[in-house]
Symmetry: C2
Subunit: 400 residues, 2 copies
């Protein structure tokens, strides 16, 4: 029997306990021994709930108990999670976490401590909820050099964009609907401004290229400027608008960005709808692969956390190699990054647009008048933003 402690009895934490209870026989078989939840750390009490007898309010009870071999951290936020996780690793306990802020900020350091202590720091649930992506990047795509990772990494915004596309609704009304359904927070900033996706693409980029990527370095745009008119153009272009986290190797640099993009109908991400997430990876020998599934939700996320617990049990005494060095990866300059842009300008700017831009394609949309819309040839961000300002673009969206 192996004893574990769960830090935080919120949505994911209670999900972890539920998954371990529901599938205990098959999980124990996979792990090779029985997994027992000995403590649950929470500030609250849960009178009447069977979990109450395991509740502790003081982390030192867990930290000082040598019986606890694995700590599950599902509190979220950097502190006190970081202090608790670091202490656990230093005391020779493995850690499984769903905490993207913690992993994005301190992943490299925590992995180094785990390696030194011959334990494991695992974080499958920090990106893509239940979708296996961290473990495949670490253990499956080992024959490849990764050239690109592009992901729909935030379920809330994908739900909103899907609803805007399907129902012709505007941004404000879909946000309100998402809040009513509990998909979006009262303060939706982390989702709609792309901050959540930014931390996730930072983690994936660090793993793909082996060095620390600071999420503050990643140019991030959210979906707040996407309008129902943009959606009409997207339909005319047989595209869907998705909030994508992208990191890409080009000209010897790694470029990373979060922004809405026009995704053409032949791209595997085109039809990833509602709250689903998907991560597209291109390897230099493998070509394209995509991983698709529930990017959030209590049980899918808990499933990923518990799979990490099983992996930690199976690798007791051995560190699973994860290449993510503390050395910082200097991303390529945002201004040098090359993209194609869909652009809308007022009708009276048509001549100017044609003069300024190399136009790959004009876009007609019957439902919109008084505008001239087009797709540019590939150009740098710096050049684009200069010209877009001159022509007073109504809106612009990068192509995927």
């Amino acid at each position: 029997m192996i004893n574990i402690a769960v830090l935080g009895y919120g949505t994911v934490g209670s999900g972890v306990v539920e998954v371990i209870n529901t599938n205990h026989a098959s999980i124990n078989k996979r792990a090779g021994q029985e997994i027992n939840v000995k403590y649950v750390l929470d500030l609250r009490d849960f009178p009447g709930d069977p979990i109450q007898e395991k509740i502790v309010h003081d982390y030192s009870v867990i930290s000082n108990d040598d019986d606890i071999k694995i700590v599950v951290e599902v509190m979220g936020g950097v502190e006190p999670a970081y202090t608790f996780v670091k202490e656990a690793l230093l005391k020779g306990k493995s850690v499984a976490t769903s905490n993207k802020e913690l992993v994005a900020k301190h992943g490299a350091e925590l992995l180094a401590i785990a390696k030194e202590k011959k334990v494991n720091f695992l974080f499958e649930a920090s990106v893509g909820g239940g979708i296996p992506i961290i473990r495949p990047l670490n253990n499956s795509l080992t024959a490849d050099k990764i050239r690109e990772i592009t992901g729909i990494l935030n379920g809330t915004t994908n739900y909103m964009l899907t609803k805007m596309a399907n129902e012709g609704a505007d941004y404000d009304s879909v946000l309100k609907d998402a809040q009513e359904k509990g998909y979006a927070e009262r303060n939706p900033e982390a989702d709609v401004e792309g901050y959540d996706a930014c931390r996730k693409i930072a983690i994936l980029t660090s793993l793909a290229f082996g060095k620390q990527v600071d999420y503050e370095d990643i140019h991030t745009e959210g979906i707040t400027k996407i309008s129902d008119v943009d959606m009409k153009y997207a339909k005319a272009m047989e595209s869907s608008i998705k909030l994508l986290g992208i990191s890409k190797k080009a000209d010897g640099n790694v470029y990373a960005m979060v922004s809405p993009r026009m995704v053409g109908k032949n791209h595997p991400l085109y039809s990833v709808n509602d709250v689903f997430n998907a991560i597209f990876v291109n390897g230099n020998v493998l070509g394209d692969v995509m991983f698709y599934g529930s990017g959030a939700g209590k049980l899918p996320t808990a499933s990923a956390v518990v799979s990490d617990v099983v992996d930690a049990v199976k690798h007791t005494g051995t560190n699973i190699m994860t290449i993510w060095e503390q050395e910082k990866l200097q991303l390529g300059d945002f201004g040098d990054c090359k993209n194609q842009f869909f652009v809308r300008v007022a009708k009276d700017k048509e001549a100017m647009a044609k003069e300024l831009f190399e136009i790959a394609k004009e876009v007609k949309c019957e439902e919109v008048s008084g505008e001239y819309a087009f797709v540019t040839e590939i150009m740098t961000e710096a050049e684009f933003s200069e010209k877009a300002a001159k022509v007073e673009a109504i809106s612009s969206i990068r192509l995927a």
Copy 2:
């Protein structure tokens, strides 16, 4: 340095050597040591090719060399692959193979030998080419009870069905095209009759449910009866026709089958086109996930084989647990399996069809006349085939 031998210098074998050469630095870093191809077994010689100096014609050279720690088997077919692989494992060498016939037939036994000898028998490339699916099933979806696996497992037939759907071409002409492009063999039986997909779903079912599934027990239908008229109806139903391998837990039984299916546009497999493969998995806590990518091809398949080699190196001296017992899994009776069916009958059988079947939906297709087409309610295979015979159905296709 770790020495390996490659059995077979065909498409995949030469791909394995190419991948190891192309990405040697990153592969060696991931493996933790240098991987050296010491021998390549092939009946042929390759004068002028740098591989020639590694060519051996006699397997005993490899088998008897204690320096060889890993054998890569990419010859295909059951014999002599089985004899060679078994001998390697018994001599304490790990094996990585892309050989679906071998794995489907002898996987359980070879895994047991590997376990006993504390080495590894790995077969990521045997299903879905470069798509990571075997390792995720073994190591990622460990918190779940699998309820369903449904896959587009054969690229050749998916290419053909996509072309029929997009171009309105008939079966014979797309087969000819696929043969000319080298996607289909001169004798296309293994692909178009579903035999290839059958072996792959047998492997996935064995892994998902932990016991040996004999592929001979799996009801298998190919795509040879799919006509351009069926495709017209599919379009009218906003569906695509895909050859699917399905295994599913229902009423305490596991049912497995290979057959063409109507896939509705909201299903993640709907838009998997051309030679791409995808495997959809449903777990009891995870919900739906899908893995998508190149299901065949020299380099994608070689990428998967080499990822197994890396895994074998990292797990030198330890057996990676794979739950696939030699005990046979008794599949549920095909006749008891429940499905919904799309059915076409001659116009003069309409009244009879309405009498015989519970009809869920009538299907209108402007381009077809003289027929009555409908979708049944869910019913057993036994009941369906009896009634379909009575009504002399022109064609029938299951719904996904």
